[in-house]
Each structure stands twice: as C-alpha cells, then as structure tokens.
C-alpha cells in the first residue's frame, strides 16, 4: 500500500510541475519578436508546392534572424473552413502576419482579415484583397513556357502528358503556356491533359500519369504538389518535368527540369516591410524578371540544344521583348482568340477558361 501512496504522490508532483512549467512558458515567453504564421495546404516536406513555400519561410527566417519568428502549420484543408481555427490560434499565439498558401483559403482569409484589422494577411494565388490583405503569386507560366520548349524538343511520339490539378484559370494558364512552348519548337506535338481534382494525392496523381503513358505520351509534365507523376514516368523509362521544387534526386534518370518557385526573397521583403511599418496592401504578380519563378537547371536527360534555346527565350522574356500570350493564338477549335499584334491582359490571364490549339483535353463545364 505504501508503494502505491508514494506513486500517487509522484504523479501529483509531476502534474503540478507540468502545470507550473506551462505557466512559465506562457508568461516568460513574451518576446518582442515579430511572429509570423504560415498555413500550408500540404506537408512541409512534400518535395513540391508546400516545400517551396517552406524553403521561402526558412530563407526569410535566416535573413531576418532574431527579429522574427516564423511558424507554420501543415496539412490544412482548403475545401472548407479548416484554416479558420488555425488562423485564430496563430493570432492568439501572437502572430501579427499570416500567410495562407492555397487558393481555397481565399474567402476565409478575407473574412479573417476583416475580423482582425491589426493583423497583416498575405494570400497566395487568389484574387481578393483589402487594406490589410494582399494577394500574391508568380508568373510561373513563364517558366512553364520554357519547360514546354524542353519537352517539345525531347518528345519522339509527339505526345506529351500533363497531369492537371483543378481546372481553374491558374492551371489552365500554365497548360496553355507550356503548350505554346512545346509548339514553338515542335508544331506537330500535342499536350494530353487529365485532371485529378486534387492538389496533394501522390497515388492518384501517379495513376493519372500512368493513364497518359498508356496513351503513348513519352514526356510527363504536371501541375501537382507531389512527385507522383514524375515517378510514374521514371518507372516506365520515360521523361518527366517536375513542378514547384527541384526534384532531380527523386528520379535522376528521368527528370529533365521543372518550373520552380523562389519565394524566399519576396517573403523576407514583405516581412521586413511589416517590421519597418512600411507594408502596404499591394497585390503582387512577379515573374522571371524578379527571379521569383525559375526554370530549374536542365539535367543530362534534357535534349541537346535545349539549354541554348531556353536561355535565349528566357532572356527575351525578362527583357520584355517576347510576350508569351501575344497573338495570333488559336483555341482548340482553330479559331483565333487573340488576334495578331495584341497581348492578353493580366485580367484575361487571371480568368483563362479555354485551351490553346495543341491541347488535347476538356475543361469541365459547370
């Protein structure tokens, strides 16, 4: 019996210590650091979209050092309001700046921005903004055009597979730019598109790529957050183009390049502006000229001469000499949608709802 009594005492002592230490961290933890919260759609180590953001977060943390504390929460769904309690919790923990990194967070982020006027919100890939909320994104389609050049030169079957996530303007725009890149070097090639309706589902995305390989595609490109499509291509001994993050190590004998994000400098800059008190709600859509989007260095799998062609076009894109969505551009039915001499406006690009000639796929109507 005595032993048990001692045990009880030990347990009680332990719980008291725990409670006290809990109080300590709460009261003593008040620092003057600027706390910033990042909300991620995927896992921070997904070798894709979320990892690209997390790399940016780590870059900003290193750049700004002791002045800031950048925290994150991963795997937060964006098809409902799962992000709302996370935002509440982060703000309660002292976050003054919140980054939400997926399209579906948009309305909830906007509502939270109204509820917390003192907190700064930055939402990635959406279209809503207010005094304390901006939206930001990059012109990744520029890098996709360059990736299209590589794919167009590589393909032998003249069929390139493209695993798309959701049929929203962002993805459609990317497919179109990629296809224009492909056809600029190989007018006979077509781009076969399938939709997965997910951002993050490695198995499903892989099987979608398999269905494209079964259709005789020999290069697989993708707009997903994982390396699923890439591994499918590698297993069949075909070629692939990644997205988001340089994943050459995953499939070294298949990977050619990838359009990738470089969020770090932008994140560091925005957070610095909040620190300085000069932050303004200015929407941002930068491109290769800002180095926020890049084409990952080509690997040995890329076709000969591709590097030179890519470099040439990259220069022209950066200098503004070449505009990707400049007419004449035909749609899938061969009708001219953008007449010669006109360039699509940003507004048109943000609402892209049709495929250019050379895409073999359907945008689901609703």
């Amino acid at each position: 019996m005595r032993k048990r009594r001692i045990l009880c005492l030990v347990i009680i002592a332990c719980s008291i210590i725990m409670m006290l230490s809990g109080c300590n961290t709460q009261n003593g933890g008040k620092q003057e650091k600027l706390k910033v919260g990042f909300i991620y759609i995927g896992t921070a180590g997904d070798a894709g979209y979320t990892q690209a953001h997390d790399k940016g977060r780590l870059y900003a943390q290193e750049k700004l050092g002791d002045k800031v504390e950048l925290i994150y929460q991963e795997n937060v769904s964006d098809t409902d309001d799962s992000c709302v309690p996370v935002i509440h919790s982060m703000i309660e923990q002292g976050c003054k700046v919140i980054f939400t990194n997926s399209y579906g967070y948009m309305d909830y982020t906007y509502d939270m921005a109204q509820e917390y006027p003192d907190v700064t919100f930055l939402h990635c890939s959406g279209s809503k903004s207010s005094d304390n909320m901006l939206n930001y994104f990059g012109r990744i389609y520029q890098a996709r055009y360059l990736a299209g050049i590589v794919a167009g030169m590589k393909t032998e079957t003249n069929k390139i597979g493209y695993v798309g996530a959701h049929p929203i303007p962002e993805v459609i725009r990317g497919i179109n730019a990629f296809t224009l890149g492909v056809r600029s070097v190989n007018p006979d090639a077509v781009v076969e598109v399938v939709w997965t309706s997910t951002w993050y589902d490695p198995a499903l995305e892989k099987s979608a790529a398999v269905s494209l390989l079964d259709k005789d595609c020999d290069v697989i490109a993708q707009h997903q957050d994982t390396t699923g499509p890439q591994t499918a291509a590698a297993e069949r001994g075909k070629w692939c183009i990644g997205y988001n993050f340089d994943t050459r190590d995953v499939t070294p004998d298949s990977y050619m390049t990838a359009p990738i994000w470089n969020w770090g400098p932008y994140y560091a800059d925005q957070i610095q502006k909040v620190l300085d008190g000069t932050w303004k709600s200015e929407n941002y859509w930068g491109g290769m000229e800002d180095d926020i989007v890049q084409l990952a260095p080509l690997t040995k799998n890329a076709p000969e001469g591709a590097q030179a062609k890519v470099d040439e076009m990259k220069e022209k894109i950066i200098s503004g000499e070449f505009k990707i969505f400049e007419g004449p551009i035909k749609d899938q039915n061969g009708e001219i949608r953008v007449p010669a001499g006109t360039v699509m406006t940003d507004e048109e690009l943000l609402g892209f709802s049709w495929f250019v000639e050379g895409v073999n796929g359907v945008i689901p109507e609703n």
């Binding site: 347990i11 332990c14 809990g22 769904s77 098809t79 509440h88 919790s89 309660e92």
Partner: protein, 356 residues
C-alpha cells in the same frame, strides 16, 4: 504467466491502474518526444494549455467534444445491442448530405423551418444508412461489421462525386467545392460556439434516460445480453435491431448536420474527420455509459486540440503529433485490459499479495 479475469475490482484498484497507465503513456511518449528533440514537459504543458489555456482554445476543444459526444451516443446504442456499428463515418457523411440538400436545394422552405428540417432529414438519412446493414443482419444474419464498414466507403465516394460533379459550386471557376450554406441554414451560436454545445448534453441525458428508464431501451440491452432471453420473452428481435440502428445511425447523422451547418458551413469530406472511428474508442472507454461519454469525449477533445496546438506552437510536424496522440491512446485502451484482467507471474507470490 497467467491471465485471469479480475472479479470485483475495487474502485481504488481501477483508479490506480488508470493512473499507472497515464504514467506509462507520459513516459513512453516522453521518450519519443526526446527523440524528436523536444522537452517532454514543454510539450505536455503546451498540449494542456493549448486545449484549455484560453477562451478560444477551450472553444476549439469543445468543438471537438461535441461531434465526438453525439457520435459516441450513436455508437453506444448499437454496442449495447452488441451490434458492431463501425459505420459512424458514413452515417455522419450521409446525415450531412441530407442536411446539405435541404440547405442548398430546398429554398422554397420558409427560412425558420430550414434548420429543423435539416435535422430531421439528417437524422433520417443517417439512420437509413445504418438500417441497411440492420435489415441484412435481422433477416439474413449478415456480418454487420463488414457491412457498416463498407458503407463508409460508399458514402465517402458519394460525397466526393457530389463535390467534383453535380454539386460543385459553379461560381468558383472549376475549383471543386460545394457552395457554402446560406446564412439562415447555419446553426445559431451560444458563447461563440454553435448550438451543438446544448444539443450534445441534452442528447446525453435523453439517451441515458432512454436506456435506463424506458421499455424500448431495456429491450436493446436484453437483445445485446442474450438473444435467447429476448426471444423467450417474446420480443420482436428484428424490429428491435432495425429501430435501434435507425436511432444509432440517426444520432451519427445529427453529428453530420451539426458539423456541416455549424463548423464547415458546407459539405466536404472533413465533416466526418474520423469522428465515426474515434467515437468507437470513446464509447469503449466510457464503458457504454451515456453520461461518461460526455466526460471521455471532453478528454478526447483536449487530446485532439492539444495535438493540433503543439504543431503551430512548437513546430512539431503533424505526423509526429499524431504518433503522440496514438501512444497516449494506446495506453488508455491498454489500461482497460488490466481493469478487466490481471496477469499473474508466479502462483505463490501472487496469492499472498492478492489476499492482502
């Protein structure tokens, strides 16, 4: 080594076993936390303060408790009858599906009727989803474990189909999401939480009363304890199985209604969020006692919310937080075994210590 059934374990013994289990859980997961490179005491205290430390956190904890409580009641009714309903997940989703239909497509209803009708339809649709295996069980003695489990997958795929297909919100330019509920279809709020906060305890009282004080409730227990007794007493076993499962699935359906109209504000897969499975554990831990369900569900709410909190507060990866929750749970469930059985290592010693 021998395993023997513990007869008449005293309250004190049970409490001691539980406390030891908690200690084992804390130590075992403490080792895991140290391996991850964190201080266990910081992690534990953050879990507790993350679940209870402020109004917002307590609210989040209660928001986890509500669906767990109501689903557990549904599971409990079935378990009382020894009907292994592991289809709570599907019943929740189907209840939410029914409510969503009312909220989005029955706009001819007068606004004040929308929420009551949502609850009614949610209860019925969730209930029907449980009655299907009940009929097969009653008529053909089909295995209800497999049937309820498989019906989960059908419900999941059905919701996915609606989300990506006919119910997709056309205003979102191709993004696959069902439209948000209109304002009048959202649950009213009390203390910053939806009225599930009141519904859950009311249902607890109702089910406790129903099982203990009514003839119908008593029938459920009899069928569960002994089919032949029930038959001998002239009970209509098929009817009891089917109506009980209507209640069981209906309660899960109500969880679906509350989650869709109170939390998610739309229909998605996250409406169920695994509550249908977690409720099996809470029901089991409550010892099939309706009032204890509320208490156990609250503790679970603390565990879930605390686990979510430490992710952002201490930057612990989600998967590690899940492992931590799993370890704590395993110990809690393991202690249940030692409450019911005891392990005897060598005969002589144990006899003397047992007598005491």
């Amino acid at each position: 080594m021998q395993i023997i059934k513990r007869v008449g374990a005293s309250k004190k013994q049970i409490i001691i076993i539980r406390l030891i289990a908690i200690m084992v859980a804390l130590v075992a997961s403490g080792i895991f936390i140290v391996m991850l490179g964190y201080n266990p005491i910081t992690v534990y205290s953050n879990m507790i303060s993350g679940a209870l430390g402020s109004k917002i956190r307590l609210r989040a904890t209660l928001l986890e408790m509500i669906p767990l409580t109501i689903t557990s009641l549904g599971i409990l009714v079935a378990f009382k009858m020894k009907f292994a309903n592991i289809g709570g997940e599907g019943q929740i989703l189907m209840g939410a599906f029914g409510a969503t239909y009312v909220a989005l497509f029955m706009d001819w209803l007068p606004e004040f009727l929308v929420i009551p009708v949502m609850f009614l339809v949610g209860f019925l649709v969730g209930g029907i989803w449980a009655v299907i295996p009940a009929i097969f069980k009653a008529r053909f003695d089909a295995n209800e474990t497999i049937m309820t489990l498989m019906l989960n997958y059908i419900a999941i795929q059905w919701i996915t189909y609606l989300q990506y297909g006919p119910w997709r919100d056309p205003e979102l330019k191709g993004f696959a999401k069902i439209a948000n509920f209109p304002q009048y279809a959202l649950l009213p709020r009390v203390f910053g939480i939806h009225i599930g906060l009141i519904i859950a305890p009311v249902l607890v009282v109702f089910i406790a009363w129903f099982l203990r004080r009514t003839k119908r409730g008593f029938e459920i227990t009899v069928v569960g304890e002994s089919l032949s007794t029930a038959r001998y007493a002239g009970m209509d076993i098929s009817r009891i199985i089917i109506t009980t499962m209507l209640l069981s699935g209906g309660l899960c359906g109500i969880t679906g209604v509350i989650q869709a109209a109170g939390v998610n504000k739309t229909l998605t897969m996250n409406v169920s969020s695994g509550y249908g499975f977690t409720a099996i554990i809470t029901t089991y831990l409550s010892g099939l006692n309706a009032t204890k369900v509320l208490f156990v569900s609250f503790l679970f709410g603390v565990l879930l919310q605390g686990g979510s909190y430490i992710q952002s507060a201490l930057q612990i990866p989600q998967s590690a937080a899940d492992v931590l929750q799993g370890m704590l749970l395993l110990c809690a469930l393991g202690s249940e075994f030692f409450v019911q059985y005891k392990v005897r290592f060598s005969k002589k010693n144990s006899v003397s210590s047992e007598v005491k």
